[in-house]
Subunit: 476 residues, 4 copies
């Protein structure tokens, strides 16, 4: 409804009512104006109706929705099923131009706008979350692992002779594979045990650098967010070391945007040393069901170089479409409500652990994930620990990982002993739980309740199994 | 509604009516059963209501939709906005497990099923379209270019010393960049002019192989679908050459699935020689607004190797979700209706060309794209050719590319003369139009009409410009 | 996106692309302007995207969607489930004000606008369909029967002493009940047989008027659309008679808007005589799944009187919302495509009838419904006619009614002999099929095919039943 | 997914995962089973996903969605726009059969089931809300006013000579008009002032009965929910009087379902005396954007008689569809959370009133609506009271009605002095606010804040207006 149409409407229903309606429209437009002007995360998250209004407006600007459009190219935003068009707000043209993800697509002004705004709001959120001096970022329509690989492939053009990537061990497959995929040799540096925590072995890293020669090392590949008892890598020290030896430094910040501690580590690392790029999941930090990542850094030119290395352009739209529905409803407030549930979860796990003769591992440097020992459980039966995993699965507790001792895993020819525990020999089996974005108090309460029941059931079984009474075993 | 609930319903409304309703349900279930049993493209495409029913059923199977679920992991299928959940049929958990795209995700049985079925139906469509002996394929949540890069990165592990990729020139950025991104040196082989057609210079390829040494060549990277007057590469001969020299062969089949000729070329290439993988766009062949590709091949083990090389697993769902809405509504019939519009477009363009003193280039080997010379137009004014492009853009004809002579472009340090024309010196400027999947007779009619108007307007302008009358020029 | 926001967008993506997008928006706005200006059925039906855009715009104007609204009244457009709000485009406030359906609702400017426009476009469609001199109409959120009752109740205030309504018989319950509900005594006038057709017995009507006295008659209640072999009432003659005796005349035009013949009858009746109101179904003429009717007439003051008689105001929105999605996509063309399928259906039924020894009843005055005799079928077995009905039901032929002879039905104390056949003694049993709005050639083809199969099966059964062979009967 | 399809799925993804998925499905089916078995309001409201699953299942049972259906009737559930079909879950056939709202529609088993279940759950909610002995109810697709008219029209058949309806005054148009529409003469009984409250003048009612003669009175038409300072009618006493004189009694319970006090009054009235039917808004009690009402009573036969009086049958579906999305998400808990906000609103209004020299009227018998005097405001200026209304409108406070003194209104020939105040001469002007279903604490807080601002602004203006200072008036 433009002003002309509002005027016409005043002839049909009372002018004062129409004017109030038109003013209400201006309310939404004001929010859109702020976004267009500032490109920042709104103070208050948008309502769904504003998001929908905006997406519908953008769709109208794309050529596939022009009322008189005809297409004779190889794609032209056609869809096999109207179902899909509607579900995507008719934003069904691609963005970017062949081979350049950052180029504006002439046929899709609305979608291109959405892309720019999404990148801009995401950059603002990175800043608000703690990396105040981040210079540039872009959403890339690939999983985190493949996005890390893209960073490594870009660095190869700068360091054609380098063959190694130094990597403080973290037991997660895709970040390991990202190095293999890119064609490099990972140099795994085992972590050191410090109390209950597993932290970066800085001396071992330094030794490796000297041993291999800085010029043969593509980069150091460190990690922030991880499962306890591993803690985020010592980014400041690693960054300083990289600066000293002139080695690039890429940080896997998978789901670290939601943690001000992880973000602070990156900010500090960049301040005192060198961080070339940090990569985070779109999915995990913004709760969107779409595979995408954000590649960010402190040198806009290098980030642009990575973006130019991405061979494709049409794949971006869905990421932005979905991301926008999320980041536009984020608010400043939203960014700070995780701490509270983390505390509740820690408190509750601690209470539960002590009730069952276990303990909450002391991992104060991990801001998201917690771990509870399962020593006692293991003592009851060899299989009890893995059984606990199955029981939690059956009882619909999702995300609570059980880590037994001594598992061995071969990935792309590399053998990891004690796999899943980030260590060749962690002292005890344990269970992980995390307070990640979107978790509710109800999730915590239900998880604790079902964990309690499962532990009790297993201990009863364990006692029964060890007891000679034939009767008892019938109770199973 | 299970049978128990149908029985209960019979107490509420007349049993015979309920039974007819239950039988109607069985109709949908029958279609689902066939899909589950055979994993094939349905004879008749599904209706939207069957697709929605099935997606809703699958969603119910995913843990994030369990009525009593609680989650304490780092993701757990949470969403920032309900809007997104609904638009995605609540299929918002990822598929695959960390680092393995093909692994079943325990928390997402429904989504995993969708993934398997999508891959299976896509494989069937590849066969039906002409590559009868294809052994395996998978949907990968990355653009075509990045997917080609993934193939090259996988081959590197097999041929660690190879540095070159032989590439018959095609002027499309992302497939060129895919080689750069993967860290290889593209060896560009110019095409030869044969009548109006630009086709593979087989002798030049052979010369390059000998010059560089087969062992230093990672692979030959050929192309099927392309803009006229270039035609699909001579796949049979290239495949035979690759077999002879023991060089891998990767085919960029971007939007070739829709053409039985392109698919036949691949089938024949594999029969008489060597094709290791062929890669096609999900978006372009199946008309879905999502960035994805299909990597397929004749050796299931090698395709699996590529799939294992992909470092990520969560990004796949959206591809499958969207792809499924498309491939399930495809039918056998659907696969064969392009030929007709191609003929109409060719006919109409020919008529138009002759009316304007131009001609339809004779490119019988290109089954999708057509080209019309713009010699005459260029003669009227230097700028007329590019002006035509703008006019078509303004008149909402999308996809009709105008190719002027002599454009130069530098990509990643390589200079391409005559860029966009696949040739350093094509004899004439021209305009492209394609009959790609989803095009309608209305598209063709409108395009021809507007093209006609634009050409007339430009010629009038041209005459005016060449005329000495000062008055005429004011009419511009 | 207002002009300010478009300007801001030009700083983010290329101005020329944004301008084209903004121009595209103007395309939709132009359509909306025309609607607001003229209030007429669009020449070309709107696309779904324009309809959605407009409804979203209107929703923004309603107070329940104001960004800063707070409500302390008894309703305020709240919803129990977001699901409902979205499905209704957030148009969830009522229209009208307590007790006055036509009053503008200050809190719902958008919805009120929608109401006015819907009424206006519907009026235009009534004119285009043939009632050129209709003066006024309004959508009323009640079924046709209740809407007829409302007309009678309004007339009561003008003719407080009148107790009778004269009603040429049509065997449809709700129009009969509408008279009972309103508290009047229906005077049923049997139809006369004229060839195969059943038409109004004008002399009997005249006799009844004289017998009862014009002042004791509330109105004549006639019918247009009906099942063959009944044909539309002789409206011209009835209207003239009403004018002569000064008796009001209400026409039940249930699904007659789709027939130019029915509409022409009304136009002619009003021209030569008296028609006070004609009532039609929203559902049946505009294919919308909502219970509503349109009350129309030639004297705007009387139509307003009826509208003021409706005690309620909040119930209208859904009718308008749903109606608008339909009437806005109607086009002039749409209004004239029924004739063709009617001819096909007649042709096919005729062929089928003669193949089975039956005949298509000759009912040229019924423009929508057709009837095929079932004499022969009845001869094979007593139950065969009703069995045919069940078979068609089971074979998913819906809407094909089978009319056996001699059914008796009591409604509100009145006994109808030969119920369903509009006559106490129609000469033969028959089957009805109609060519109503929305029917497709596929419907006709499938119906004929299944009807053929069913008739064959029944005849086979019939022969078997009459045959003495014990074997044959086992084949049942 | 039936069991066969689950089994097939187990061959595609891991059986244990599929089994968990199938079990999850059973969770939803269990809820559906309970509904089908008991027909009651669920203990815990359903999630949106269960509602959608169920509606989709029902749609599959309707003939318009049969995969092989063909239709040759006059309606057959066709739609003009797919948009509408989807928005209505493809439930687009009607329910009921021509002329009988309660009859099962053979072509729409799913929709018919929905109708029965909706009526059943609504009945349960009426019981849970306090009318424990209600015997029967049905949803009728008409506004409350028209539904009241239907009750009166039904009673006419029982009391053909009765002309009057006795009606304790309540200033709401549609319930007044319902009597006019049905063709009766309303006998308005003014209320008596009791403290601040306006309550039923029982003696006046008794006098009227005697004056007019019980046999000439169709019924007493009383009201529960209303705006303060009027309070619900004295139902017990009225019901007893009706029983004594053998006069029917119809209660307008417009938005009273949400109040246990209103419901208790009805229950008590029926226990000690006579209540024939009570009518409530679907829209207002269940927060659904659809015009519908619920007619309920203690004698199932009489309620059926009313239902049979409704001439129509196709109009019901939308009511049920929309109602079901609401009533299925209701829970027992939901029914009891209004009291708290009522207390907050009362508290806040009281505080505000005393701060502005006004007072909260003492109306303890009105459980929903509150009133605050505006004596002081009126004293500042004659127009101040109506100005306050405009200010609140402009400041987006909806539902807060301002009642000035001495307004006169003529409705259908009847003159109401002091209209809107339920009294010819209420002692003071006042403002209404209500705590109705769906209201939030934010609504209350915002309303109080804006009301405070408006009152301050008006008083400042008032002072300025009365002040002689020329300067002050410039501040306006």
């Amino acid at each position: 409804m433009n002003s002309e149409n509002f005027l016409l409407s005043e002839k049909i229903v009372s002018p004062s009512y129409v004017r109030q309606g038109s003013q209400a429209r201006r309310g939404h437009e004001q929010l859109i104006r702020q976004l267009l002007e500032q490109g920042k995360c709104p103070e208050e998250g948008w309502s769904e109706s504003t998001v929908e209004l905006f997406l519908n407006e953008l769709a109208v600007m794309d050529s596939n929705n022009f009322l008189g459009n005809c297409g004779v190219g190889e794609r032209e935003g056609r869809v096999a099923s109207g179902l899909v068009a509607r579900r995507h707000y008719r934003l069904i043209h691609g963005i970017g131009r062949s081979g350049d993800i950052a180029a504006i697509q002439p046929k899709a002004a609305g979608s291109s706008l959405l892309n720019k705004l999404t990148n801009s709001v995401v950059l603002d959120i990175l800043k608000l979350s703690g990396v105040r001096s981040v210079a540039s970022c872009f959403v890339v329509p690939m999983a985190t692992g493949m996005s890390l690989a893209l960073c490594f492939l870009t660095l190869r053009h700068r360091r054609p002779k380098a063959r190694y990537i130094i990597w403080p061990r973290i037991d997660q497959k895709s970040c390991f594979k990202s190095m293999i995929t890119a064609g490099f040799e990972p140099v795994v540096v085992e972590n050191v045990l410090d109390g209950d925590e597993l932290r970066t072995d800085l001396e071992a890293v330094e030794r490796k650098v000297e041993e291999l020669g800085a010029e043969n090392i593509l980069c150091v590949h460190s990690t922030t967010s991880c499962f306890a008892p591993r803690v985020p890598d010592s980014l400041e020290e690693l960054a300083a070391m990289c600066a000293k030896h002139n080695i690039p430094h890429v940080v896997n910040n998978a789901y670290g945007v939601q943690s001000s501690k992880c973000m602070h580590l990156i900010q500090q690392g960049a301040r005192v040393g060198r961080i070339d790029a940090f990569v985070q999941s779109l999915d995990k930090n913004f709760m969107v069901p779409v595979g995408g990542a954000i590649i960010a850094g402190f040198d806009a030119a290098f980030i642009e170089e990575i973006s130019k290395m991405y061979p494709g352009g049409w794949a971006l739209l869905q990421c932005c479409l979905v991301a926008s529905t999320s980041v536009f409803v984020f608010s400043h407030e939203r960014l700070h409500d995780l701490q509270e549930i983390y505390s509740i979860l820690a408190e509750e796990l601690k209470r539960l652990a002590s009730a069952h003769g276990e303990r909450l591992l002391h991992t104060p440097h991990n801001p998201i994930s917690l771990a509870m020992s399962l020593d006692g459980l293991q003592a009851t039966s060899d299989k009890a620990v893995t059984q606990l995993g199955s029981m939690l699965f059956t009882r619909q507790v999702s995300g609570a990982r059980v880590i037994p001792l001594g598992k061995e895993q071969i990935i792309n020819g590399y053998t990891f002993r004690g796999f899943m525990s980030h260590s060749e020999s962690y002292p005890c089996p344990y269970l992980n739980a995390a307070s990640a974005i979107g978790i509710t108090r109800e999730d915590v309460a239900l998880c604790i309740k079902r964990l309690d029941k499962s532990l009790k059931a297993l201990k009863k079984e364990g006692k029964a199994a060890r007891s000679p009474s034939p009767l008892a075993s019938q109770n199973l």
